[in-house]
């Protein structure tokens, strides 16, 4: 290629690039300061806002267009932004994840939906071989900022292919970031941070909280930085740490403990990779008693890393072993859906064990 050609090529791309630059988020003076919404509304709002703000953002996946997604997370988006920006794909998770990688390399900001976390499997190689490693393997020459959104977790009596919590697979894949909000506030803030960030992010949405989790959300633009846990309740006697769908159970267990005069600190990790070691260690060091809660099968779940790290780091402060409450090491069952899930009772039991140690 001659120098002139090179110049021309660059200019063309830049021109194309310019036409798709993000606009700064505009404050809207007429708006109230907060709005009440459910977790799924927050996800929907998050995508809508990013689609408005940044023409590089595209939303796609199976049935996300006219259908609005099987949970309606993308409802109304195609109507507002058209089929070029919000579209259905063929039924192939490999194609969906892989396409997101290629788009991101060419400067777009894809948000891809995988219909259920249980169906990432066919896209696993794209995630682990392409998305996770592109920046590293190219020495930073190529990057793929993208978001894979997917409903995960149990409690909807969906059997094992509509209930699994596979986040540990992706936490164990360096190069991917992994988050799981449990509140509308976090869902919106983390989604914005993920879309605006420069890395591939697995965005797990605890489906049983889609409508159950309701809350106030600022109307002004904000982000929730990846890697920061939320202390949901301060406490001094014991730390209950979880993320995703189990959070309401942690809160319930904390209330039951409060009724017995026990002051529990409740921490929502929100972000798994990276995870907030500082907040967790401070809490563990303070209370000396920790219960970790996750609904994923116990062996190899993400809390293994947290437990291992806590005892490595604040061993001397521990007054009792760090206990895990987790899913069972079985495929996710159907009829015993509720027995499988941790639940407040099981958390409370673990807490009592730790307290009486």
């Amino acid at each position: 290629m001659t120098a002139t050609e090179e110049k021309r090529a660059d200019t063309e791309v830049q021109a194309a690039g310019e036409s798709v630059q993000p606009k700064p988020e505009q404050p809207n003076p007429g708006q109230p300061a907060t709005m009440t919404m459910t977790l799924i509304q927050a996800v929907n709002e998050g995508m809508r806002g990013e689609l408005r703000r940044d023409p590089r953002v595209l939303v796609f996946g199976e049935d996300v267009g006219a259908r609005g997604g099987v949970f309606l997370a993308t409802a109304g988006l195609q109507a507002e932004f058209g089929e070029r920006r919000v579209f259905d794909t063929p039924l192939s998770e490999g194609a969906i994840v892989g396409a997101a990688v290629g788009m991101a390399v060419r400067g777009l900001r894809p948000i891809a939906e995988i219909q259920f976390a249980d169906y990432i499997g066919p896209g696993f190689d794209q995630l682990t071989s392409q998305a996770a490693k592109l920046r590293y393997r190219s020495g930073g020459q190529f990057t793929c900022p993208l978001v894979i959104r997917t409903p995960s977790g149990g409690g909807v009596k969906g059997g094992h292919h509509h209930s699994q919590s596979p986040e540990a697979y992706y936490c164990h894949t360096p190069g991917l970031k992994v988050v799981m909000p449990s509140t509308p506030y976090d869902a919106l803030g983390l989604l914005r941070a993920a879309v605006r960030g420069e890395d591939p992010v697995m965005f797990f949405e605890p489906k049983r909280l889609y409508r159950a989790a309701k809350g106030e959300v600022p109307t002004a633009d904000y982000v929730v930085e990846l890697g920061r846990a939320a202390v949901r309740q301060q406490g001094s006697d014991i730390s209950l740490i979880g993320y995703g769908g189990v959070m309401p159970d942690l809160q319930k267990a904390a209330e039951a403990l409060a009724a017995e005069g026990v002051s529990a600190e409740v921490i929502d990790l929100r972000s798994l990779v990276p995870w907030d070691r500082e907040t967790v260690m401070a809490s563990a060091a303070k209370t000396g008693r920790v219960v970790l809660v996750s609904e994923a099968p116990r062996i190899g779940n993400f809390m293994g890393e947290v437990a291992s790290s806590i005892q490595e780091e604040v061993f001397d402060s521990l007054l009792a072993p760090v206990l895990q409450v987790a899913g069972f090491d079985t495929p996710y069952p159907y009829v015993q859906d509720r027995i499988y899930l941790p639940g407040a009772g099981r958390i409370l039991n673990a807490a009592v064990k730790v307290l009486n140690y």
């Binding site: 049935d63 259905d88 063929p90 027995i339 499988y340 009772g345």
Partner: protein, 375 residues
């Protein structure tokens, strides 16, 4: 002899119920009636189960309505209990056609103690080793490579069985669909790969699933014959399946068969409200006008074997009674207990599951504290 890569789907019965000129059939009148009964069973099963769902007695349902000729045609083209089927969630018609009892299928839908699968899967995942109908996975197209592997085993063992693998039109986009079919071709495995092309994958029409002119033409990518039948013509499907399966028994290789049909119900009850957003009532009506059971009834009438209105009413009433009986049987058999949740993960019970068992035993027997649950 079925023709590969035809431009028009193979038909035995024309839309108006007449026998296609040149077509033949060898079913006895009793066999023809049985076909009608089986298709009607599938249709009424849908109706009854949708009612039960509304009553809160099941949690999920996906109709096969409109696809009865395809599913019963497949089942009747095979040797039940001899040939194997790896199907998918919408295949209740094949399951019933292969000889799973109403009790079996209903128990699976309920997840009750008398479910052959022990209540381990959501509705629509029947399986029966006696009927050689494999309990499926919800993961679309994931049945294809295993079905091909099974056919490879049959050929290795010198058995005269064939394996049928069914899937929807949407499934053809998945990588494993391709991986499996390619393997079948290379290994000349006696696997009959059948696409139940009902033209929709939830909200995605087949034209946006693939740009190929048809599904069966995809067989060319594998050096395999592709066949095309009218999936609303039960005799055509049965004849095609039988001819292809018998060819495989005698050493023939795999084939792809496309049955063109239509999903007249919603994707599932979860989709019933949303459906209006993606397909027109006119399109659906166009296909209800081409109802496979109605067509077969016209054919029977033209053959002098009309289904009388009393006969129909009696048969439908019988089915509903039987289903009601199956539901009651399922309900009264109870739901598998917590112990069952920990069984069948492995052939044995490794230490970590023994520990879980012990922990759950304590919890469930009330030795552990309880917290008030519920929203």
């Amino acid at each position: 002899m079925l023709e590969a890569f035809p431009t028009q789907p193979f038909q035995v019965i024309l839309e108006d119920g007449h026998l296609r000129p040149g077509a033949t059939f060898d079913q006895t009148p009793a066999q023809l009636r049985e076909l009608w009964q089986s298709m009607t069973l599938v249709r009424e099963f849908d109706r009854k189960l949708v009612t039960l769902l509304r009553q809160g007695r099941t949690t999920f349902y996906a109709q096969a309505s409109g696809m009865e000729a395809t599913q019963i045609g497949i089942a009747r083209g095979l040797r039940p209990g001899h040939d194997w089927v790896w199907g998918y969630y919408r295949d209740q018609g094949i399951a019933l056609g292969l000889g799973l009892s109403l009790t079996d299928v209903v128990a699976q839908m309920v997840g009750s103690n008398n479910d052959l699968n022990k209540g381990r899967q959501m509705p629509h995942h029947s399986g029966s080793v006696a009927s050689r109908f494999v309990s499926g996975s919800s993961s679309i197209a994931s049945q294809v490579p295993p079905a091909v592997g099974m056919a490879m085993a049959q050929s290795y063992l010198g058995l005269d069985e064939v394996t049928v693998c069914t899937f929807g039109d949407g499934a053809t986009s998945e990588g494993d669909w391709h991986a499996g079919i390619n393997m079948a071709a290379v290994k000349n495995a006696p696997c009959l790969l059948i696409c139940e092309n009902n033209q929709w994958a939830i909200s995605t029409p087949v034209e946006r699933q693939t740009r190929s002119e048809s599904i069966h033409i995809k067989a060319q990518a594998y050096g395999m014959p592709g066949y095309f039948v009218d999936g609303n013509d039960v005799l055509a499907v049965q004849q095609a399946v039988k001819e292809l399966a018998d060819g495989m028994r005698n050493g023939g290789g795999p084939a792809l068969l496309e049955c063109l049909t239509y999903r007249v119900g919603s994707h599932s009850n979860a989709d019933a409200d949303a459906e209006k957003n993606y397909r027109s009532r006119e399109q659906v009506r166009g296909w209800t006008d081409r109802d496979p059971i109605t067509r077969f009834e016209k054919f029977l009438a033209l053959q002098g074997q009309e289904i009388g209105s009393q006969e129909r009413a009696d048969f439908v009433a019988l089915i509903h009674r039987q289903i009601e009986g199956a539901v009651q049987q399922a309900e009264s058999s109870g739901i598998p207990g917590w112990q069952s949740m920990l069984d069948d993960v492995y052939s044995d019970t490794p230490v970590h599951l023994r520990r879980s068992y012990e922990a759950l035993r304590q919890e469930q027997s009330g030795q552990a504290m309880q917290v008030q649950e519920g929203a």
